[in-house]
Homo-oligomer: 347 residues x 2
């Protein structure tokens, strides 16, 4: 174990996996260049094969706050997560995660194999004290902005105690990253009454009522769409399906409108007039503006990007990691692995 | 017990709960009038308080194939389902369900208390042999038409054997009601690989592979939206959330577009030109065109309508019940309660 890091060490450093994502390395390098230029006070470190990364980075006229950390191996999308982490010890994901563990970076961002990211985070950073399973905290659009939903896919089978822990993690996230002083916590269910839902939900409802959190009760998707809560808690199977349903069905009316629109000349003209309005709406549903989702429950800040991340998404993922670090979302680890600050998981 | 009914008994008779739904009795009576006029070969029976129903029906100049069955009580939305069924033995829901049990109707339709409908169906009609839990089969829009998803909310906590039974019920539904000769059955999960999902999904995947059904594997919401399957199987908690997420998030871009559209005069003009296109799209997401969902797994045809059913939705719910009856979705019961025809649950 390295020396303990402190919350005060400067500048904030974000490591980014240069090799992860469908459009890597080019989109990652462009996104990192943009982030480094836009955030001159932070340090951005591209983690990947120097022979590949350096020439691409050089073309972009890199600023001084963008550097490279060499990693000779790559975990690709078809690698089995746990095995890959054990076998490819010099992969960009393993190296980036160790940088967080060892205090060389405040946050690690990757749009690569998300299973490998979760395995590496759990193995290298370890779970926070009092947390039995990790959770992915994903931004979810509402009519007025966004909320955070967790778990969005890290833990498929949950117990009520896991969901209670997720509520605490989401509470800390909403306070630090979304800057909501008293986050409203909702439990995803099929009706508002505490008796509605499956056994897991009903048992969790009882735990949340006495949790000391600002628990507003069960919420259905319509309350989510209206933005009536800041944090929505559910198991990783349901959360991942909700995210995917939002993507698939949220974009469907737009696509249908476009098909219908192209049917007559008059409508095509009208559609041209409306193009800016369509663009504004599409933006609200565009994952890339959020950058990525945070993996919560581990001793460090880990951002999981969308596999199809563009350079714009990468830039925003780096910004998300930097923001979480600046607000002290996860307390820095001490040499015995305990948080030095109570603000992280349970505040 | 009455005499056994046969599949040949004519005409097809659909009983409809005159007292159920937010807009009852007026919307129900109007919908029943429209259905009776549009389907002169079937018999429609309004079940409810004759003193209330007859004058409203008389105003509509009823055709001969629309009649009334008196029921003196009403189960309202705040009644506890099981208790209400036992206590209000002359409620419209109890009377309508007994009409199906006793061979006086092929199908019963209600937009009232759906919990009471499920309780009454299970108590009065009983579960089909080989079925341990009922399932709601709900139509779900796709880019090209619709698929059927089950369970959409009848059974919150499922075992793999329940989901296997739902797959057989959905298969029979798709063959009879959707007229797909070899329905493609998908299992809702968070990835295509059999190893993806929660324990319930992984265990169910193994059962479906050897079920003899046309099982195409796991499907995610994007494959549902593309219409790549005819039947999607999941537990009632997840299915109900998917339905509600589709409603909440499917309509969100439309609402956002409308808000954005009204911002400038030019856009308002363009929007006026596009109104018909918006209307076409909205129709695809409108539950009322489907009429309702079938409760499967019981010895009879039961249609559960949306609480907010309009007369148009009621008319379509009656059509759905008649279509299911005409295609022999559920085998008629014999006096010992066993199906006389293997086509129902397991074909």
């Amino acid at each position: 174990m390295q020396e303990p890091i402190t919350a005060q060490f400067k500048p904030i450093t974000v490591a980014i996996d240069a090799m992860g994502g469908d459009l890597a390395p080019q989109a990652v390098i462009t996104g990192a260049l943009d982030a480094a230029r836009g955030l001159p006070d932070i340090q951005v470190v591209l983690v990947g094969d120097e022979a590949i990364v350096r020439p691409l980075m050089a073309q972009g006229n890199p600023p001084a706050n963008l550097t490279i950390r060499h990693a000779s191996q790559v975990i690709d999308m078809c690698d089995a997560p746990s095995a890959a982490i054990r076998q490819k010890r010099d992969s960009s994901i393993a190296v980036g995660m160790r940088m967080v563990r060892d205090g060389e970076a405040h946050a690690f961002v990757s749009a690569g194999n998300s299973g490998a990211m979760m395995a590496a985070a759990t193995l290298v950073l370890k779970l926070q004290p009092g947390i039995d399973r990790p959770a992915i905290a994903a931004p979810f659009p509402t009519k007025t902005g966004y909320l955070v939903m967790l778990d969005a896919g890290a833990t498929m089978d949950c117990k009520p105690s896991n969901l209670l822990q997720f509520a605490h993690l989401g509470n800390a996230y909403a306070r630090a990253v979304m800057e909501r002083p008293l986050p409203r916590i909702g439990l995803l269910s099929v009706g508002e009454e505490p008796t509605k839902g499956d056994e897991l939900t009903k048992d969790t409802h009882a735990l949340l009522k006495t949790s000391g959190l600002n628990f507003v009760g069960n919420v259905e998707p319509k309350e989510m769409a209206r933005g009536e809560v800041d944090v929505v808690v559910c198991d990783g199977f349901v959360g991942n399906l909700m995210l995917k349903a939002g993507e698939a069905y949220g974009s469907m009316p737009m696509e249908l409108i476009k098909t219908t629109l192209s049917q007559t000349l008059l409508r095509r003209l009208a559609a041209a007039l409306l193009r800016p309005a369509f663009r504004e709406v599409k933006k609200q549903f565009d994952y890339s503006q959020y950058g990525g989702a945070l993996l919560l429950g581990v001793n460090g800040i880990v951002v999981i990007g969308h596999g199809r991340s563009t350079h714009f998404a990468i830039e925003n993922a780096i910004r998300l990691g930097a923001r979480a670090a600046a607000h002290g979302l996860v307390a820095p680890v001490t040499s015995n692995g305990a948080p030095t600050d109570s603000r992280g998981a349970e505040s």
